[in-house]
Symmetry: C2
Subunit: 361 residues, 2 copies
């Protein structure tokens, strides 16, 4: 069956490429109000496309951009087929030819075999590949091997503001799904498509260290008052050891070991530290000892400072003892880590390392 489906898909490639070009030509820029009608049109396009495949599709409106929601009618799949939830997004980031595009971003252009347009790789292209697969199955097998729920949003590029509400509204329809396919992933390298089978989770904190009630003069008070900026850096510095490991107690306790087979597979990928360093704009990768760069960024948990501010940031010198110092920091968590347990340990750790004379919130 798979062979026939693939043959059909291959034969209809041209038609589906044309179809994708139409979708990509709609400038569904979610962040710009001037494109609201385009975002709506791109949602409509996706809904009609899903109906064309035989799914029951509708738009769910939100205070900003609609979600596209589709399910397989009973007639389209076996009674006890596994239930798969499919997520993607149809909105795109702004793009203008002046940003350095060589072809107009919303005039999809094929060049050396690549389809170049805003959204072609984030995320209309990937969503469309899945739609094409569905249609091919439908055409050859007349039914789908799975029960499918499709949820496409139009606000991924602006923080998925209304997605949680929509998910809450559709909880009953979503909760029986046995697997979730996220289309919003990368291909590893040119010619090397990837199945991304895991993403690290995120835990985000904002810390405020409060010292004196107001900024003070470092000449008049310096040395006799706990400086919250000094205290903040002291606390943040204690969160890593010199080997790039997070010092938070119990942080690694539950972390799943990287299986040797997987490590071997990853080592065989066409990847070099040099190439990664070029891509990241750094001299050389850096991280937890004992792991390769891919292991560090794919399967090992992290703790990173994402933002930092205190005192005077303008030009020249100001001898201020800041009243407070702040940081944003986040942890990337991996399989088997329990976010609640980590959060409890983190908050206890903060309490334990808070130096005298300051308060942390």
């Amino acid at each position: 069956m798979l062979d026939s489906v693939l043959i059909w898909a291959d034969k209809n490639r041209g038609r589906w490429l044309e179809d994708l070009r139409q979708w990509l030509a709609i400038p569904s820029v979610s962040t710009q109000q001037s494109h609201d009608a385009d975002v709506a049109a791109a949602a409509e396009w996706a809904m009609l496309s899903l109906r064309g495949i035989g799914l029951t599709a509708e738009l769910i409106s939100t205070p900003r951009h609609p979600c596209v929601f589709a399910t397989t009618p009973a007639s389209l799949c076996p009674a006890h087929a596994p239930h798969i939830l499919f997520y993607g997004h149809y909105d795109v980031q702004p793009a203008q030819i002046e940003d350095g595009w060589h072809t107009p971003p919303f005039k999809p252009t094929v060049k050396n075999g690549d389809l170049i347009a805003r959204g072609s790789s984030d995320d209309k292209g990937q969503v469309h590949a899945h739609l094409a697969a569905l249609l091919a199955w439908r055409e050859i097998a007349s039914e789908l091997p799975v029960r499918l729920t499709v949820l496409l949003e139009g606000e991924e590029e602006i923080g998925s503001i209304n997605l949680p509400t929509v998910m809450e509204q559709r909880r009953d329809q979503l909760k029986s799904a046995q697997a979730l396919i996220i289309s919003d992933c990368n291909q590893f390298a040119p010619g090397l498509p990837a199945l991304t089978c895991g993403l690290r989770g995120l835990m985000y904190y904002q810390m405020e260290v409060q010292g004196p009630a107001a900024d003070l003069h470092s000449g008049l008070f310096g040395g006799a008052v706990a400086n919250p900026a000094n205290a903040l850096v002291e606390m943040l510095a204690r969160m890593h050891d010199g080997q790039g490991r997070v010092t938070l107690s119990g942080f690694y306790d539950d972390v799943a070991d990287v299986e040797e087979a997987l490590r071997r597979q990853w080592r065989s990928l066409p990847f070099t530290d040099d190439q990664f360093a070029r891509e990241a704009g750094i001299k050389t990768p850096f991280g937890e000892t004992g792991y390769t760069t891919l292991e560090r960024k794919w399967i090992r948990p992290t703790l990173d400072i994402n933002g930092l501010w205190s005192g005077y940031q303008g030009p020249g010198a100001k001898t201020v003892l800041p009243a407070r110092a702040s940081a944003k920091l986040s942890m990337r968590l991996v399989p088997n880590q329990n976010p609640q347990k980590i959060a409890t340990a983190f908050e206890a750790f903060i309490q334990q390392i808070t130096p005298p004379g300051v308060a942390v919130t």
Copy 2:
């Protein structure tokens, strides 16, 4: 002689108070262009006042506000009198009744024996007290016991921008001074005038830690790239030990010991940690162990972070791996510390503690 001078000064108190009120009534706000004419008028007032005492006085114009410069004519002091340089400033910070003043800031008002006006304690009041002393000597003794050079500037509140140039221009007239009297100091407490006999010096740095060429996504790169914000806090945290001491090698080597007699004097001052904490808006003072609060803020050297910034500072969460992280920091230096030597040690220390994967400028 001193007694007669003091009696004369006392007898003429009312006249001199009136004189000071005139000067204070001129809103010589150096930072606001709308007050440029007032600043010029306050300078003119000071020059004429110095001439009235018998000094040779002139205005030195600068690209912004003039300096008042005066010297004692040979006839006014003995041939080999010591040469004293006197510094003060006649400009003031902005002040409006809306800021919380109970009386108009430029209508000097006597209330419960205090003269209330902008500039009365910073720095026209102090300068005027010295002028009054000079006039009293002049009246009683007909000459001054010292050779005096007076330099008043009109830009202290805006960073003394042109003072170095003026000092360079008058180098020959300034360099023979054997002592410098700075009028811009405090009185310790109500009813307790103070001779400030030392001020800590200042060394100011701005540090930039450079990581990747551009901001990166912490989900895609986190753990495999040195985070400059992590690196910066690690470096800054290494500059103090847990006892509030600066860890910079040799930092305390040349620091003059606090003489036991001085410590005793300071301990007898009407000062409590509680009162200081209230004033500073903190729960309790904090600093180098083994020293009192007054010793810490008057005679011990410090290293403080004055500013800190990196990554995302806005509302909400952004999982950015910042491209760079920056800090402003300053040291307060004390007698016998050599700024050049400290600077060399500090720069070597920075080099030594720079973690792998980042560059510091």
